[in-house]
């Protein structure tokens, strides 16, 4: 529903605009240098940009690395910057903006991007800081056949239903550990907490400040829910991230999963798994706390930025090249690589989960300058509770204490 609405708005946008579709690569003879993460959808966008515009550029380089987040601030700080564009997500854009390394794109959007809908423009105080092209979130994966065997008729939609279903599967002797979640100590376990925390209506910070507010009734309820779910996950869950959970799912060793939408197409394709698993895997909205509540998910977008510390002509050429990739042909050629926010996307079964989660009103991952510090504190301090070494209250108090220490060092708190 959400996607259909998006696509409709794109289509009307195109009808209204009179911009021709011939590739416009902006000023020629410029150097275009892109830093990006390393997964198929990003390759599709940057690769199409290269195909379209490398002939008119003096230089076109792409650095795809999973380390992009680690090197981007250092690479963009000098003038001229090492890269003219970095492809980012919610959290990584904040990291660049914290050091003022990306430029507002309003005039470039007017010149080259008028055929794109407004809601792809990531706007901070009226300044377009990035152009989004794909969406992602974690949501529920279910094995229809196993649920039926355990006597569960419908796909669970609340956390309690997920736990009840897991219990029924265990009691029926089908699987001892039917749940998989990305719970690896660090970023992943922190994010798993975030999902349930937002579903409980929690706010990470006291409004308008950098004071943490996770040690609250919502936080405690969320953490206890996370623990209740993890009771049905394999004992090794604190070492499992996306690659491991996907492998468990594809091996048919799990029946209920909370995993990333981008893994959907990889799981549903005919590689790495059996017919029985792929034909019975159902992707649906992330669970809610109460029926009809907010889904337990944070929405993510991926989009591109343009460096501040590069000549205007290079910035313009880079922007034009990347915009030229955001079209229906690119989407058609790479339809299943991502949940595209672009014209021409045909949402298949693999996009159902993200689409339903977004339609249910899940909030975007907060774009706050200090969120990385809190996320890191959650990732390191919550495991003591999940291992059973301390109470939920104590674990959340530790999170706040660790965050406050880090936030003081970074100048967010005094």
């Amino acid at each position: 529903m959400f996607l259909k609405k998006l696509i409709l708005s794109v289509a009307t946008g195109c009808l209204l605009s009179s911009v021709a579709f011939a590739t416009d690569c902006g000023p020629s003879g410029q150097s275009i240098r892109i830093l990006a993460s390393d997964f198929p959808a990003i390759h599709a966008v940057a690769g199409t940009a290269e195909k379209n515009c490398s002939s008119s550029a003096s230089e076109f380089t792409r650095n795809h690395t999973t380390e992009a987040r680690q090197i981007m601030n250092a690479a963009l700080t000098p003038n001229p910057a090492e890269y003219t564009s970095v492809i980012v997500a919610n959290s990584t854009l904040t990291q660049l903006m914290n050091d003022d390394l990306v430029r507002p794109l309003n005039d470039l959007v007017q010149k080259y991007g008028s055929n794109l809908p407004d809601n792809l423009m990531i706007t901070v105080d009226g300044n377009v800081m990035a152009v989004a092209f794909m969406a992602n979130s974690q949501h529920l994966f279910s094995r229809k056949d196993i649920l039926e065997k355990a006597g569960i008729k419908s796909i669970p939609s609340t956390y309690n239903q997920v736990i009840d279903a897991a219990d029924a599967i265990r009691k029926a002797g089908i699987m001892k550990y039917p749940i998989v979640m990305n719970m690896k100590t660090g970023w992943n376990v922190g994010e798993s907490f975030n999902l349930i925390f937002v579903a409980h209506g929690g706010e990470f910070f006291k409004p308008g400040t950098a004071e943490p507010s996770v040690n609250t009734a919502e936080g405690i309820a969320a953490l206890k829910m996370l623990k209740a779910l993890s009771e049905y996950a394999h004992p090794d869950h604190l070492t499992q991230a996306s690659n491991e959970t996907q492998a468990i799912w594809e091996a048919g060793d799990a029946a209920l999963g909370i995993m990333w939408g981008t893994r959907g197409s990889v799981i549903l394709d005919n590689e790495g798994s059996s017919e029985q698993v792929t034909s019975n895997t159902i992707l649906s909205s992330a669970p809610t706390v109460k029926p009809g509540g907010i889904p337990g998910a944070t929405l993510w977008w991926d989009g591109f930025t343009i460096s501040k510390n590069v000549p205007d002509s290079e910035a313009e050429a880079t922007f034009a090249a990347l915009i030229s990739a955001l079209n229906a042909d690119m989407v058609a050629a790479n339809n299943d690589d991502a949940i595209w926010l672009l014209e021409g996307f045909k949402p298949g079964a693999a996009a159902e989960g993200v689409s339903a989660t977004a339609a249910g009103g899940a909030p975007p991952y907060p774009m706050l300058p200090q969120i990385g510090l809190l996320h890191n504190a959650l990732g390191t301090e919550l495991v003591d509770f999940l291992k059973g070494d301390e109470s939920a209250e104590k674990a959340l108090a530790d999170v706040e204490a660790a965050y406050v220490t880090a936030a003081k060092e970074k100048g967010f708190l005094q």
């Binding site: 998006l6 601030n73 919610n90 959290s91 904040t94 990291q95 903006m97 914290n98 003022d100 809601n119 792809l120 423009m121 990531i122 706007t123 901070v124 105080d125 009226g126 989004a132 969406a135 001892k176 690896k184 100590t185 970023w187 910070f205 308008g208 400040t209 950098a210 004992p235 090794d236 604190l238 070492t239 929405l299 977008w301 926010l341 977004a358 899940a362 909030p363 975007p364 907060p366 774009m367 706050l368 300058p369 990385g372 510090l373 890191n376 990732g379 390191t380 495991v383 999940l386 291992k387 204490a401 660790a402 220490t405 880090a406 003081k408 060092e409 970074k410 100048g411 967010f412 005094q414």
Partner: protein, 327 residues
């Protein structure tokens, strides 16, 4: 020495005395594919002025060393007054990041170092006693673990101890417990890391001792033999005293190596159960997206002090030996 050792240490120390300037936060309207919301962001114009005036940051003295992430004197004091039993107190203290990491780092060092010394020496004696034709191949085989990059070696072992891996599955079978997991319990994770540590550093001590054994004077051994000393007595009274300087050297290297244990924790994904001082530095610098340089600097300096303490006895001993020889 000055360029490669003194300057980096001084730089880390200076960095650890500073924290970042106050970030001027403003509330702004933020829009994207999923709607608009009010969020706080950094007012860069105001913040950059502060940064340009004092690029190192705000002087914080030794407060970074005293905060919760490091020595945490205030928290330890509170724990002391709040806890009723000693067990409670230690639980509280080891819950603090630095002390928790110190507990694992010291345990690891204290177990791995002597075991590697003793086992390395025993293997050296064993290989030395082999017929000549067998020596070459056995030395090569014994050195193999040392040739594997720590990160790769521990990853391979990590997959082997997985529930479906060859070691993990065998252990399950032996104990007849299908839920047994080496990765899910703190005690087993520590054991796994320690066993890995021994496996990986053993060849170093073995090869040094083996080289040392070749220098044991044959005449002395022969004299001991004529005096009727058994093989055991010859080892204790002739070989070991001859190798004492080497033992000091190997101990020194092992202590330094083990105190900075890091790679196995990352490749075993053991962060939930075991964290070391080096892991804390890594986490400060990488995981939060914006590096905590001051905090990482402070932990580095504390690590150096920790190593210095550990090495003190060995260094004193080496110095004494040196003085003895000088006279």
């Amino acid at each position: 020495m000055i360029l490669f050792i003194a300057l980096p240490i001084i730089s880390a120390f200076v960095q650890s005395l500073f924290i970042q300037h106050e970030q001027v936060l403003i509330v702004s309207q933020n829009c994207g594919p999923f709607g608009c919301s009010e969020v706080t962001s950094i007012d860069f114009e105001k913040t950059i002025k502060l940064r340009q005036d004092a690029p190192l940051g705000k002087y914080n003295g030794i407060n970074t060393y005293l905060n919760r992430s490091h020595l945490a004197f205030a928290e330890v004091g509170n724990a002391w007054s709040a806890s009723e039993t000693l067990v409670d107190f230690f639980n509280e203290v080891f819950n603090l990041p630095l002390y928790g990491a110190l507990a694992f780092t010291l345990t690891y060092t204290a177990v791995v170092t002597p075991l590697v010394l003793i086992l390395g020496f025993s293997i050296a004696i064993g290989v030395n006693g082999l017929p000549n034709i067998m020596k070459g191949p056995s030395i090569f085989v014994s050195l193999l673990p040392f040739l594997v990059t720590p990160l790769v070696g521990s990853l391979i072992l990590f997959w082997m101890v997985d529930g479906d891996g060859i070691i993990g599955a065998t252990i399950k079978l032996i104990f007849n417990d299908p839920d047994l997991s080496l990765k899910a319990s703190t005690a087993l994770t520590w054991t796994m890391l320690i066993v890995y540590g021994i496996w990986h550093t053993l060849p170093f001590s073995f090869i040094v001792f083996y080289a040392g054994l070749q220098t044991v004077p044959f005449e002395t051994l022969e004299a001991a033999l004529i005096d009727g000393a058994t093989k055991w007595q010859r080892t204790i009274y002739v070989v070991i005293p001859h190798l004492v300087p080497l033992i000091s050297f190997v101990t020194l290297m092992l202590l330094m190596d083990n105190f900075r244990v890091f790679e196995p924790i990352v490749s075993f994904s053991a962060e939930a159960h075991a964290r070391s001082l080096s892991w804390i530095i890594y986490n400060d610098l990488r995981e939060s997206g914006n590096p905590l340089y001051g905090s990482a600097g402070a932990t580095s300096i504390l690590t150096i002090i920790g190593i210095a303490f550990l090495l003190l006895p060995v260094l004193i001993r080496t110095w004494k030996d040196f003085k003895l020889k000088g006279h």
